[in-house]
Symmetry: C2
Subunit: 374 residues, 2 copies
C-alpha cells in the first residue's frame, strides 16, 4: 500500500487534515504520550506490565513526512522522534506564548474550503452543489457574462492526479454546480454522503482537491453529542492549553472575515473516539508497542499519526504542555473550547465547567496528565 512514500504538499495535507490538526515543526521539542499513542491505535494496546513506562517523554522532532494513503487518500504523518534526556530539557526553544497559539504560519496559509457531501452530492444525481463562497474564493474566476456561465475546473488530488470538472452557474435561484466529471470522481474515490471534500488554491495558483472520510458508518458524520454540554456564557476563559486536544483555533482567515465574529451557539459534531470507515492503514498495536519500547529506552523512534478532528494528538508541543501545566485546573473552573464542525465551514465554542479533576487510568498511568480533562 505504501510502496513509495511520496510526501505531499504540506498545505494540502493540512487542508485535508482539518484546521484543528497541528503538527509540531521540524526540530521542535514535543512531549510524546504513550497513552495517547495507544488510544490512537486501532486495537487495544496491552503494555507489558513488567516495565514501567513513563506517561510522557520529552523528544525532539527529527523528521517529518506528510503522506497520503494511496488507496483512500486519507492523509497521515510519519514523525521521527528522538528522546531528550531529562537533564537537557529546555522549554525555551519554542517560545510560543499563550496568546500566540494558533497564529503561527497564518501568513502562508492558502485559501481552502471543505464541504461535507450531501445525499444529493454523493447519490448518483451526478452533480455537486458548490457553496458560493467556495466557488468565488477558491475556484478560478468565472465569466458571468456568458449564458450560462461555464468553465472547466482542473484540480490535482493528493497523488498529483488531475481531475476535471465542469463548473456551471445556473438554476433559479442561481447556484454553482459541478456536473461533468463529478460522478466519476465520486465513484473513483468511493465517496459517500458524509465524507468531505476539500478544495485548496495552492500558492502557485493550482487548484487541489482532497478528501476527508466520514468518521462513522455510511451516511454518518452528523451525530450530535448526547452529553450535557449546553450553550452557555463563560467568564473564566483560558488560552487553550493542549495544543492538540481539538482546542485549537485555526480557521480560514477569509472565513473569519466573512463571519465577522464567532457565534456561540452549541453546534458541532463531537466524537471523542475517532473511528474510520477507512480500509486500513491505521496504526497497529504492535507499532505502538515498538515505539513506546524504543522511547522508554531513550532511542529514536517513529510514530504514525492519522489526523482526526476531535482525536487527541499524542505529540504535543512542549511549550504548550508546559503552559497547560501552569494552569491550576480546579473543580468548577469554567473553560472555553473550540470545535470545528465536520465540514470546517464554521467554528463553534463549547463553554464548559470542570466537573472533576481526575487521572483517567490511575492504575496503569499514575501521575499522568493524559486525559486529565474529561
Amino acid at each position: 500500500m505504501k510502496e513509495v512514500e511520496k510526501s505531499i504538499d504540506p498545505q494540502l495535507w493540512h487542508a485535508c487534515a482539518g484546521s484543528m490538526v497541528q503538527i509540531p515543526p521540524l526540530n521542535s521539542t514535543v512531549f510524546y504520550f504513550p497513552q495517547g499513542h495507544a488510544e490512537h491505535s486501532l486495537g487495544s494496546v496491552n503494555f507489558p506490565s513488567s516495565s514501567r513506562i513513563p506517561p510522557l517523554i520529552f523528544c525532539r522532532v527529527s523528521s517529518l513526512k506528510f503522506l497520503a494513503d494511496s488507496e483512500t487518500d486519507e492523509v497521515y504523518a510519519k514523525i521521527k522522534l528522538v528522546p531528550i534526556p531529562a537533564n537537557e530539557i529546555d522549554f525555551e526553544d519554542n517560545n510560543l506564548s499563550l496568546n500566540s497559539v494558533g497564529s503561527d504560519s497564518e501568513s502562508e496559509k492558502p485559501a481552502s474550503f471543505a464541504k461535507t457531501l450531501t445525499q444529493s452530492d454523493a447519490n448518483n444525481g451526478g452533480g455537486f452543489s458548490v457553496p458560493r463562497y467556495c466557488a468565488e474564493t477558491i475556484f478560478p474566476r468565472l465569466d458571468y457574462t456568458a449564458d450560462p456561465p461555464v468553465q472547466t475546473v482542473v484540480a490535482k488530488d493528493v497523488h498529483g492526479e488531475i481531475w476535471k470538472f465542469r463548473h456551471i452557474y445556473r438554476g433559479t435561484p442561481r447556484r454553482h454546480l459541478l456536473t461533468t466529471g463529478w460522478s466519476t470522481f465520486v465513484n473513483q474515490k468511493k465517496l459517500v454522503a458524509g465524507d468531505s471534500i476539500v478544495f485548496l488554491r495552492a500558492q502557485d495558483g493550482d487548484l487541489c482537491v482532497g478528501i476527508r472520510r466520514a468518521k462513522k458508518g455510511i451516511g454518518g458524520g452528523n451525530e450530535y453529542p448526547s452529553s450535557g454540554w449546553n450553550s452557555n456564557n463563560g467568564s473564566c476563559v483560558t488560552g487553550n492549553p493542549f495544543g492538540g486536544f481539538s482546542c485549537f483555533l485555526r480557521e480560514e482567515e477569509n472565513k473569519m472575515a466573512r463571519n465577522g465574529n464567532m457565534n456561540l451557539n452549541s453546534y458541532g459534531s463531537f466524537n471523542s473516539s475517532g473511528n474510520t470507515r477507512g480500509n486500513g492503514g491505521r496504526v497497529k498495536p504492535e507499532m505502538v508497542l515498538e515505539a513506546v519500547a524504543l522511547a522508554a529506552s531513550g532511542k529514536p523512534f517513529e510514530v504514525v499519526y492519522y489526523p482526526r478532528a476531535s482525536t487527541p494528538e499524542f505529540c504535543v508541543k512542549a511549550s504548550a504542555v508546559k503552559a497547560a501545566m501552569r494552569v491550576h485546573w480546579l473543580c468548577g473552573m469554567r473553560f472555553k473550547m473550540a470545535f470545528e464542525t465536520e465540514d470546517s465551514s464554521r467554528i463553534s465554542w463549547f463553554m464548559g465547567t470542570i466537573s472533576s479533576v481526575q487521572v483517567a487510568d490511575p492504575i496503569s498511568w499514575p501521575n499522568s496528565p493524559w486525559r486529565l480533562l474529561q
Copy 2:
C-alpha cells in the same frame, strides 16, 4: 509542443507509422535526397538559385529519435545525419542483398493490428467493433466460459498514458466489441471515421495503442486512385529498389500466416501526395533549407521525418539505392510494387509497366535519380 522530447518505444512507433515505413538503423549509411526532403515539407521550398545543391548526399546516421506529437499522437522521427566525403564512400557496410530487403528485424517484431475507424466506430454510438483477429491475437485472452465473456483491456498510448476499455464478446452472431471507455478515447484523441487505431502487444506483454490520422479531410481515407493502374500479371519482377518508396513488403507475420498467400487484386489506397488533417508540427520549409545548406557544406544536420504510407522517404539506405541503380530501368519493363492498404489489414501488389524513364524536374535537379519512376 515538444517541450520534452521523449523517445517512444520503437516498436510502437513502427506500428503507428505503418509497416511500409522504414527507418535506417543507427550508424548505417544513407543517401539524403534534398528534393525528397523538400517534398516532405508542408509549404513549397524555394532553394536559392545561387548555390547548386547536389541531388543526393551520402551520410551516416549519427542519431535517431522516435517521437510522437504530444497533441495529435502522430509519430515522427528526428534523424541526425553526418555527410561523408566522397572519397570515403563505402557501400559495403550495409550488406543487404536484394532478397534480404524487408527481412531484417523480423524476429523481434511484436504482434500488432491496425483498423480504420468506421462511422459506427467513430460516431457516438459509443462502441468499437473489434476485428476477431485483433481480439484473439493482440488482446489478453478472454474467458469464453463466462456469459457474456467480458474483460477490461488496459492499453498505453504513445505518451505512456493508460486507457481502459471494456471488451465484451456478444451479439448474434457473436462479435468482439469495446464499449465503456471507448467513446472517451475517441473524444480525447479527436478521432473521426477514417482515422486508424493501432493495437500492439509489446514484448513485455503490455498492450499499447496508437493512432494514425487519416490523410485527407473528415471521413476520407478511402479514395481510390483514378490513375490507370490495373490489376495485371507480371513476369519481370524485381526486388523493390527504393527502400522507402512505398514498395517495401513488411506485413505482420501472423497476417501472412493467416492469409496464406497474397492476393493480386487491384485494391488499395494510393495517395501520392500526403497531406495531413493534423494540427501542425509538420516540417517547415525553413528547416529543409537549413538542413540542405548544412548538408551541402558537409556539416552534420538533422532532419525531421513524418512517416506517411505512400509518401517517399528521403533518407534511403545506401545499399538499397545502390541496388536500385544497378537495375537498368527501361521503357516497357514491368515491375511489381507492394501497397499497404490504409488499415494495414492486407497488402496488395500493383503490377506495372514502366511507361517512361524521365527525370522529374530536369531544370532544378539535373541528373537526379529522385522520382525517376512515376
